[in-house]
Symmetry: D2
Subunit: 293 residues, 4 copies
């Protein structure tokens, strides 16, 4: 087999002992495919301490590899996708334990699925990523990425927060709630779903704003085109007990006067799947569609 | 003033006595602008019986006019938009009584707003329209249009219906419910909203499927790109008490074996608004956003 | 064993061939317990044609028996409960195929469970039943019962209906919707759940009104005490395309001027369960609580 | 007029300058009715510093007065009701600014309404209050009251919490969510409504559990009788970022092993209303029922 991918980066979930075995098997499989491999430094330090694979910073995986494989759950892939978005490197997810929405190859199918994929027989999905920036006139912007969602929310529970939301500089509404979720189609099956949002086709170029426990009954999730820019202004009195989260993995404080802007990243996350991948099948399995009690 | 539009078609809601006065004022205003006008035949027959404006079939308004004005409510504009979609003629709505989502010029502002618009100072929105076709191997297709929504639903109440839904030929799910709504962004503030659907930005090229009273709790509205094609197959035993509706204005029966296909029309509905038109303002007014009790 | 019950009535779902075998086994089991049995006349005529068990009208089962066993699904038990509510006879449900919310003894456990129950080791639940009456000044009342729900709904789909609802003679609201569901706690896991209603503890003395696709976003299910009386007045223009259903099994037309009254029946439905019966376990099984995908 | 009430306690919202004027007018009105009055100490210290009305601890108002009037919003009445629940003293609410669900007499109607009420012409509602206790084997119980709701929730946002809920010692379910709201009928129009709960008739003896952003789609609000006792056990790993709130006004930390118990208080909150009080009218006004856009 002449491998479609020449240099593969490997990155794994931290702190899960089941990962080491899968990671080692995967590294050996890549070698047997004739690929050069690089292991993300922390992954190697924690999991492959007795082996001598080349290691590399997460940031450099994207520069040097033509495929990065993430081993873990959806959370690990979210992290990997955010850190590699500036490069055009495609991603592939090996799930540990149970099927994820993003990581759809299980360790026991790994050999067969990867053989197929590395021979060039695969599907590539392109999904949008968000850029969130928080800033005001007094200081520099703080910028982060989000693959699932940007959430503006209170962290002290007795209070609600009041947020003015603008889409492309026009006021959409002023809302009192526990928070607002701005989700990508990828994130529409994550926290936004718990908040009552719709499910979106994963390759759509669109976002949805889902209010969390809105104070009024009149609000509904709002879906809009991916080329729109969202701006949120938290009322000053709400700022001390508000913050912004990206994918539930990064938190940023908000100061009075801060403007929170969310827009689509110019690049797409490229997800590699086996050729028989069917997103609707994943939805039906994960959401138990079709099981009538 | 040199009018931007040369030949204007007028079509009005049937059976509402308030229309005649507005229609006549509008016709005279058009004449004062130097426009040629054509009145839709039924409109003229019912409302302008003592006047001698040229009349014309609804189908021909689209061929000859470079603007069609609809007088009535959102329902009148839905009907007008469906019947003129094959032509590229822009539409403008005068509302009677109360603000609609589609008809946003009130009779008392008519003179000023139209003067502005006819001088070339206006906004044009492009919105998607749906084509629904019902057919099977035995007979010809029945085809209709829908600007808000295509609804597959039971009409006998004690029964639920079971529908298999495919998007681009892949099974999305099999669902037991009272029915399914396929809505455009325009229709997302109509029946789909009552069914629990999200609100969609009106110029999006997207659709949403909203289940009506689904038998299982696992279903959520599903949003997808406007270039997808939806296919629905109603289980044979459900057909005798099922039907398909377009915009709540047209009904079509379903036979066992029928396949219901919904896709975007290749042309867009062109809606003309005054320059200060703000869709979010209409939403805030109609949905009472920002009124905290 | 000295049987707790002396005279047992048997009533079965019509038109399901699996019933006959279970029914015969059940009849023989009752005889072996030393019970006198009576078979509901239609059940006997359709299912036990070669046997000579005594038969009896459904109405008389309640007068002569001290236990009635319903074989089928929840629908059969709903029917049985409505027809026997005027008598104080306890009911027990054998489910065919799959677990129901009401029928919780499967045919293969029948022998063991009934032995236990007939020895006096059982739980008895008391649940409320509704009486619905439709009337106006010109004619007699039409009266029916409902164990799950009374539904006022449109049957022609393009229209919504407008209903004024009164609780204990005070106006609750005027609502435009596809219909209204008045459910008992028993019915809270049936159609009302599809409409977005809460789940209610089955032995509560309470009802809930659940709007179906309300035209406004401001409405929510309304829960109230079982001693309240509900009155609904359908706007005259809505009557021609409205009707009232009981448990989805009985339909009644509505005329302009009709007043629809719903109140709790003075008697309770008495449901007999095995001693280890746990309603929450049934909920968790039927609604798949605790299965995290 | 011979006053129905002899000794009236007055308690007002802190920190709102509009209160002082209303409070003074109210005190003078009570004197003119021939009533003895006592001002809650903090209220007097902050608002009536130049007057010499007798003052008294909040706890003693309940012992000595036969009516307590709360001036402020619903929040002030919630606080007053919790602190006086052990006494049988009826409460009356004067609202500042806008109509509340609980405080329904506006300052400008105060004179006329109170004259009516003090002459004995009034309605008295009885509403349930909750007792929440948190404890484990190692230490004493911490006990608080809640008139609206007891909320178990995370306060660190990236995490969900996992809670096992028992009703009368039987497991209802294990749920992963942002939190759980246990609401009284009074609280059903407060935070529980934002979480998607039903509205409950205020004099019902019942509670509802409303999950906040549940991780699974299968959960619905659960309504049960007021004589049930709820027990919640937060999974140990969730405890460090969980807490319990009462009416959004009191917070209590949770330790691993803690058991949170919620039950109805043996006494009822007695609310006094003008004779023409109509709860449904308040609902229609506050929730804008009947306003069709």
């Amino acid at each position: 087999m002449k491998s479609k991918f020449k240099h593969v980066g490997l990155i794994a979930k931290q702190g899960d002992p089941r990962v080491a075995d899968t990671l080692l098997r995967l590294a050996e499989l890549m070698v047997s495919f004739g690929c050069k491999i690089s292991i993300e430094r922390r992954t190697a330090a924690n999991l492959l301490i007795h082996h001598n694979f080349p290691t590399c910073d997460s940031a450099h995986l994207g520069e040097t590899c033509d495929l990065v494989i993430s081993i873990g759950g959806d959370g690990t892939l979210l992290h990997t996708a955010r850190s590699l978005i500036d490069h055009d490197v495609p991603l592939l997810g090996i799930n540990l334990g149970r099927l994820g929405f993003l990581v759809d190859i299980s360790p026991d199918q790994m050999h067969a699925r990867l053989e197929e994929i590395f021979s060039g027989n695969y599907l590539e999905e392109q999904r949008i990523m968000l850029i969130v920036s928080i800033g005001n006139a007094r200081g520099p912007l703080r910028v982060n990425h989000a693959f699932n969602d940007v959430v503006v929310h209170k962290w002290e529970v007795a209070r609600m927060i009041e947020v003015d939301t603008y889409i492309d500089e026009r006021l959409l509404n002023s809302m009192r709630s526990d928070g607002l979720i701005i989700a990508t189609p990828t994130g529409s099956t994550a926290y936004a779903l718990s908040g009552g949002g719709p499910i979106m086709d994963p390759d759509m170029d669109a976002m949805v704003i889902v209010p969390i426990c809105p104070h009024s009954m009149n609000y509904r999730p709002y879906v809009f085109d991916g080329n729109c820019e969202v701006e949120m202004r938290v009322q000053d009195s709400s700022c001390p007990h508000s913050q912004v989260s990206c994918d539930g993995q990064i938190s940023m404080a908000i100061q009075p006067g801060d403007v929170i802007r969310v827009k689509r990243h110019p690049k797409r996350v490229r997800l590699i799947h086996p050729p028989e991948y069917n997103h609707f099948q994943v939805l039906r399995t994960k959401l138990r569609w079709g099981e009538h009690s």
